[in-house]
């Protein structure tokens, strides 16, 4: 039904466009953007990639094209996607092509309505976040209706209802649930007269999200032993069809000082992900920061307990998440520092993170002629403490409340710790350098599911130097080293990048896993890349061997398998 309306609207736009209405054209605009990521994979005996493991899929491509038409307050658009087949490491269930995203939007003075697919975030996303991340192959857009209403300045109300994207599967009752949400956002300084113009700014928000999924029969058999006679009994789970979650948030700013807090609560949500326990879920996200010119300090804390919230009970993959639990740790950018990235553990984690950003002023003794920037970061994430609900029920038993968890008690297991210092200094108009040291503790068993592997202790050193040969030609050199005795051993990395501003980029890079305990795997992961940029268009061609790893964006991770071959990316907009 919805599809017919949207096709009708699109067709309705073609005929006037083809015909007379130049005036229509004057107001209407068409814009779009697209990206094509292609790769040609080759064999690599050292990595174990052979003709048969490639299975005939030598050339793979992920591509999308967005197009949107706007005319005054009206907007309509769609996105075409093709995975023919998906690049290595992307979920193979995405193979195919089609239009998974289309919408129609109209904005009146105080009301905006969207029909079709949309993305939305309530607060920090603790109970609802629909978003997409192309590099990760992540897309949980909601297809349905959304209304945004601003009755008075400072008050925004949002309501939505729909189903989430599930690969290419059209919605059918029983293949996923329906999501409904409501959010209110209040900027008190506009609503309360005594706060108007005050230096203190307060925002409050509250949201409510619930999902409906038809319950299917789920049973389990249990043995009952009496006088050495074992009898089997069958039990069925009481499955709640409507699961609701609530969240409240607050943001307070006073001059350079800021305090943000959000608390979320979810009622019983037994699912495959939490092994069908009936415990309620809670999440708390807290952040304080102080910023003034030349200095920025931030401290955040977080606690997550049983907050996996999917619109399909039986799903355990990286799809159909209704909410988003941000990890607290710093997102590292240098390649060796991203070998061990932390991913949020929705079932339970708690931690803190602190960061200081300071610029030593120009012309001071330590600062030098141009000033020096120093950044310090520390984070520590642990498990939550789980206690038995009652003496005869083991922790995490399916079909029970699962466990009790005292809110302020730290768990026993360390998940991730890191400490890093980054110093950026410009020595002269030609030389710039960044020096960084990172110390990481990474619980690979929990984060990557490698049960039994010891925690990885890594020390990383990074040197990044840029030399300006001429005002538009520069050479950048990177040298990194990761030193560890666990997992795959230590790595060394070197990179050389030659740029001709603003259009040309030439890069060669090598990562060498020199102390891998398995001598056959002490490999060089070399690669070269040329990129050309013209305005909004970027074309990049690369060749090389890519190491196996995890690509994480915002705490959601994708396994990237080792690969060898060519890759090409074309991205532009019009």
């Amino acid at each position: 039904m919805k599809k017919i309306i949207i096709i009708g609207l699109l067709l309705g736009m073609i005929f006037p466009l083809r015909g007379i209405s130049q005036s229509f054209l004057e107001n209407g605009q068409v814009h779009g953007n697209f990206q094509i990521d292609g790769a040609y994979y080759g064999e690599d005996s050292k990595l174990g990639i052979t003709d048969s493991s490639l299975n005939g899929k030598y050339f793979r491509m992920n591509a999308f094209g967005n197009i949107a038409y706007t005319n005054g307050n009206f907007e309509a658009g769609l996105r075409f996607e093709a995975y023919l087949p998906p690049l290595a490491g992307f979920d193979p269930a995405y193979e195919g092509a089609g239009i998974p995203y289309y919408y129609v939007k109209y904005k009146w003075d105080k009301l905006e309505l969207t029909a079709g697919n949309f993305y939305e975030q309530f607060g920090n996303g603790l109970i609802l976040r629909a978003y997409e991340e192309w590099q990760l192959g992540y897309d949980n857009s909601i297809r349905g209706f959304r209304a945004k209403f601003q009755p008075v300045t400072g008050l925004t109300l949002t309501g939505l209802i729909g189903t989430q994207r599930y690969y290419w599967e059209p919605y059918q009752e029983g293949n996923r649930g329906i999501v409904r949400g409501f959010d209110a956002d209040l900027y008190l300084n506009d609503l309360l007269p005594f706060l108007k113009g005050s230096k203190t700014q307060i925002t409050l928000g509250g949201s409510f999200v619930s999902k409906y999924e038809k319950a299917s029969k789920k049973t389990i058999s249990r043995d009952s032993i009496q006088d050495t006679v074992v009898t089997k009994y069958i039990f069925s789970y009481k499955i709640p069809e409507n699961v609701a979650a609530y969240a409240g948030r607050m943001n307070l700013t006073h001059g350079g000082f800021n305090l943000t807090a959000e608390y979320a609560y979810k009622i019983n949500d037994p699912s495959e992900f939490n092994d069908y326990i009936y415990k309620e879920g809670q999440a708390l996200f807290l952040s304080m920061s102080y910023a003034t010119k030349g200095l920025g300090i931030s401290l955040s804390g977080k606690r997550t307990d049983n907050m996996s919230f999917k619109s399909k009970r039986a799903e355990i993959g990286n799809v159909l998440d209704i909410n988003y639990l941000p990890p607290l740790t710093k997102q590292h950018t240098y390649s060796l520092a991203t070998i061990y990235p932390y991913a949020t553990q929705p079932l339970g984690e708690m931690g803190i993170q602190g960061q200081i950003m300071y610029t030593i002023p120009k012309k001071s003794a330590l600062g030098g002629k141009y000033g020096t920037q120093i950044e310090l970061n520390y984070s520590n994430i642990r498990s939550i403490k789980k206690e038995q609900v009652s003496a005869d029920i083991p922790i995490d038993s399916t079909g029970t409340k699962g466990y009790k968890s005292p809110f302020f008690t730290l768990g026993d297991e360390r998940y991730y710790e890191d400490f890093d210092i980054v110093i950026t200094k410009k020595f002269s108009s030609k030389w710039k350098a960044i020096v960084s040291y990172i110390n990481q503790l990474y619980n690979i068993a929990v984060v990557e599911g490698h049960a039994g592997d010891p925690k990885v202790h890594a020390n990383i050193g990074i040197l990044d130097i840029t030399y300006k040969i001429t005002p538009t030609k520069s050479l950048r050199m990177e040298a990194q080293g990761l030193f560890t005795d666990q997992d795959r051993g230590s790595w060394a990395m070197g990179l050389l990048e030659f740029n001709i501003a603003p259009k040309w980029f030439f890069t060669v890079m090598d990562e060498y896993n020199y102390s891998n305990p398995d001598e056959e795997m002490q490999l060089h992961y070399y690669s070269g890349n040329i990129a050309y940029v013209e305005g909004a268009t970027r074309i990049s061609i690369g060749y090389g061997r890519q190491r196996e790893g995890l690509l994480c964006v915002g705490g959601v991770c994708r396994q990237v398998p080792a690969a060898n071959g060519f890759n090409i990316t074309i991205s532009s907009q019009f």
Partner: protein
């Protein structure tokens, strides 16, 4: 409009009370041996370095406890996690038939299982969360065929001979094939594991592998048993011979025979019988 939306949200939460598990009684006594019921085939794709597979096997067993004779289990070791690796994972439990099925059905994750090789929610290889749903969709349907299987084992030559009679209970227009798979249980060998309620983590050194596919008569796709359609009451008979390898323990072996629609490849009926 927003007000309407708000109203739809208010009645939206079901908080469940303890106890969360409702007793449904004991599993039924099982069908009378002479009674003709539908029997489903659950083929699980697994591997000894697959950390989530013991959980899958435990679920399959639990479903067998509930559905009894109507559910027949099979474990196919195939794919990346079944490859022989460093000790103690040097064993190779893969078979040609298993590899062919793994490739044909494009199995992408482990553990996954096919229920009667029938699509559920447009997928063949299903993840654990929907195994029971897929079984429930089929198990109460009346049977389409009945299989009578008798076996004879000759110890010295290790030859197994089987006689099977298939009675079709409805009219069909398609061709039918029949397969005979040899399974062995009680194989003790290391298995990776990451669920402490199933066994030791990170590995169970003395894990018991059960109903493991060892051999298939005439490969994964078997032989034709009825061509050009059948009518209700039609009976087809056939025989087969297989030789057990020396390493296989005949006391723990069983034959699974199943009839499937040659066009859609969906299983119509299955039957299981121990060798000894």
């Amino acid at each position: 409009m927003i007000v309407l939306l708000a109203f739809t949200l208010i009645p939206s939460c079901d908080v469940e009370d303890d106890p969360y598990l409702v007793p449904e009684g004991k599993p039924g006594p099982g069908p009378d041996p002479t009674e003709k019921v539908r029997k489903l085939l659950l083929e699980e794709f697994t591997g000894h370095t697959c950390v989530n597979c013991p959980e899958g096997a435990m679920l399959a067993h639990d479903l067998k406890n509930q559905y009894g004779e109507q559910l027949i289990l099979m474990s196919i070791h195939a794919g990346a996690f079944a490859e022989p690796s460093t000790a103690p994972y040097t064993a190779d439990y893969r078979t040609q038939a298993g590899n062919d099925l793994n490739a044909y059905y494009n199995v992408l994750f482990y553990p996954s299982a096919m229920i009667n090789r029938t699509k559920y929610n447009s997928q063949y290889a299903l993840f654990t969360g929907v195994w029971q749903d897929a079984i429930e969709a089929l198990i109460n349907l009346p049977p389409d065929a009945h299989i009578d299987l008798s076996l004879e084992y000759e110890a010295i030559t290790r030859t197994l001979t089987g006689n099977v009679s298939v009675e079709f209970l409805n009219d069909f227009t398609c061709d039918f094939n029949i397969c005979f798979y040899l399974l062995e249980s009680g194989i003790i060998s290391a298995q990776k594991n990451d669920n402490s309620s199933v066994g030791t983590v990170p590995e169970i050194l003395d894990y018991e592998h059960n109903h493991m596919l060892r051999d298939a008569y005439n490969g994964a796709w078997g032989t034709e048993i009825a061509a050009g359609g059948v009518s209700a009451g039609q009976v087809e008979t056939t025989t087969f011979t297989m030789t057990l390898h020396d390493g296989w323990n005949q006391e723990n072996c069983a034959i699974v025979a199943f009839v499937y629609n040659a066009t859609t490849k969906e299983v119509v009926q299955a039957e299981e019988k121990e060798v000894m």
